[in-house]
């Protein structure tokens, strides 16, 4: 199974509540997958700033004076916000790549969850309510976000096997389903220079889309290409710096419901995930068609 939720806000008045709304939606989907949970929130760090979310198995040791060490390494101001096993490092946008590379040298055991202008990813093993509480997701504001609760099929239940997967700047992907040709596609993508953290099928889907975007394809074309090159079952929701997209495989047995009002576009694996959204009674509610790409951008 697995449960997916997504929320793209059109009404800026709702932005302070993004984390709370997504958390509520994700907790409703808990019984679709209790193994691990994750959430990607998009919010601007401020003009000219970027952010990197890192995860550590030993946060006390790894995060101690990490901001000072990173500041020294890149020669630019650094702000660090530690939340349990994750830390968000804010750096000048121009230093983002340098900071990312410095982090892997400064603390080799750190895992990079995401980097970009807007994205933060928090994910861990456990139930959505516990994961969301651990990272205080409900206090977070933002413009759009994606959440996932996992029932593992293709690889181990670990932090790095949790969704969302981010394989490019400000990009992330969550998946309900299973890919059957992921080993072959991973080999091909490695040959093209993409790197992988896990043996997970979804990470291959994410890297496939990131690679297309790197070669200059639009998000729409990248999502179209999943329909021809990826074999298996999938409902994908992808996030980018300014929007999100949805695509289902041609068989479309993995469920998906969407709702749109003047205030938001929402995605849920089931209608249950959407029932507490404001104005849902009068929303346009529909199921995305199989083999059809949808996306919303601001």
């Amino acid at each position: 199974m697995c449960g997916i939720v997504g929320l793209f806000l059109k009404d800026p008045k709702l932005e302070p509540q993004l984390g709370a709304m997504l958390t509520d939606m994700l907790i409703t989907m808990t019984d679709r997958g209790p193994d691990s949970a994750g959430i990607a929130i998009y919010s601007s760090a401020g003009k000219g700033l970027g952010k990197i979310t890192v995860q550590s198995a030993n946060p006390d040791a790894d995060f101690e004076n990490l901001d000072g060490d990173l500041k020294e390494a890149i020669g630019a101001p650094v702000a660090m916000l530690v939340k349990s096993t994750h830390a968000v490092m804010e750096v000048p946008l121009g230093q983002l790549e340098a900071a990312r590379s410095a982090l892997t040298h400064l603390r080799p055991s750190l895992k990079i969850m995401s980097s970009g202008e807007n994205i933060e990813i928090f994910k861990e093993v456990g139930l959505p309510k516990d994961v969301a509480a651990r990272f205080e997701v409900s206090k977070m504001g933002g413009t759009h976000g994606i959440g996932h609760t996992r029932m593992a099929t293709e690889s181990a239940v670990t932090t790095m096997g949790a969704h969302p997967f981010s394989t490019g700047s400000d990009q992330c992907l969550v998946h309900n389903g299973s890919l059957s040709n992921h080993n072959g596609v991973r080999r091909e993508l490695r040959r093209l220079g993409m790197t992988f953290e896990t043996e997970n099928d979804t990470e291959v889907g994410a890297a496939f889309i990131s690679h297309k975007l790197q070669t200059g394809e639009s998000l729409g074309n990248a999502l179209e290409a999943t329909l021809t090159d990826l074999d298996g079952f999938f409902t994908f929701v992808v996030g980018t710096h300014n929007g999100f997209g949805v695509v289902r495989d041609p068989i479309a047995c993995k469920p998906a419901v969407m709702a749109e009002t003047d205030q938001y576009v929402a995605f849920g694996s089931e209608y249950r995930a959407l029932v507490n959204l404001p104005g849902i009674e009068d929303a346009r509610v529909w199921e995305p068609e199989p083999a059809t790409v949808y996306f919303w951008e601001r």
Binding site: E270, Y271, L274, V275
Partner: protein, 229 residues
């Protein structure tokens, strides 16, 4: 009228109250409020009662229904009226995938659209969809009637047995061994009855439909294919 607040009293309490109704009962009218997309609402009912669900439902609403009339004043999630035995299920909105799957009897009416795999492996149920249906509908359908006022998606009636499929609009593609067949007087009579009972006789006329059925080449043993078995 028995009114049941699903938000307060919970699914198990609802379904055990409904399962307790057997044979003659004077509690014939039920209303379920606050369904909020919950699963298995009014599944397994075996009594001649009238149940109205005020809102949208999740997986398997009205599954295995026997005798009851169940009205959904919203949309229905996957597997609505799955394996229905008898009775009537009427959905005001849309139905998600595999509506009426494996149904053995009764009537399922969808006033909006039904998505993929509508009537998959149906075995005697009648289904009337006022809108359109998705791909792989009536896959391996064995008996009963599927009436669609709108269009049908890809691979309609793939590996079909003896169910009758009536479509008024376009069919994106026919599945293996499914062909268009002539409309004979008995088919007009079936359609007239189903359109009336499916609350669609004001929307369409029997003569506007085409009939699709099995070419009977796939499920009959053919000695020329013996080596393939």
């Amino acid at each position: 009228m028995q009114t049941f607040d699903l938000g307060k009293e919970g699914l198990r309490a609802l379904n055990s109250s409904l399962h307790a109704l057997k044979g003659q009962t004077n509690m014939t009218a039920w209303e379920v409020v606050n369904p909020k997309g919950a699963h298995a609402i009014a599944a397994g009912v075996d009594a001649d009662v009238d149940i109205t669900v005020r809102g949208s439902t999740g997986y398997y609403c009205a599954g295995m229904n026997k005798l009851a009339t169940i009205r959904i004043k919203g949309s229905a999630g996957p597997g609505v009226a799955e394996n229905m035995m008898s009775g009537t299920v009427i959905i005001d909105g849309n139905a998600s995938q595999y509506a009426g799957a494996t149904g053995r009897g009764g009537l399922l009416v969808v006033k909006g659209n039904a998505s993929s795999r509508c009537g998959v492996s149906m075995k005697g149920i009648d289904i009337v969809v006022h809108g359109s249906i998705g791909h792989m509908s009536a896959f391996m359908a064995q008996s009963g009637n599927l009436v669609v006022l709108g269009d049908a998606g890809d691979a309609l009636g793939d590996s079909l047995y003896e169910a009758r499929l009536f479509v008024r609009g376009s069919v994106k593609s026919l599945g293996a061994d499914c062909i268009e067949k002539e409309m004979r007087p008995e088919h007009y009579a079936i359609l007239e009855d189903l359109l009336k009972r499916g609350e669609a006789d004001h929307l369409a006329k029997p003569r506007e439909f085409k009939r699709y059925g099995s070419a009977r080449k796939l499920y009959n043993f053919n000695i020329d294919n013996a080596s393939a078995y």
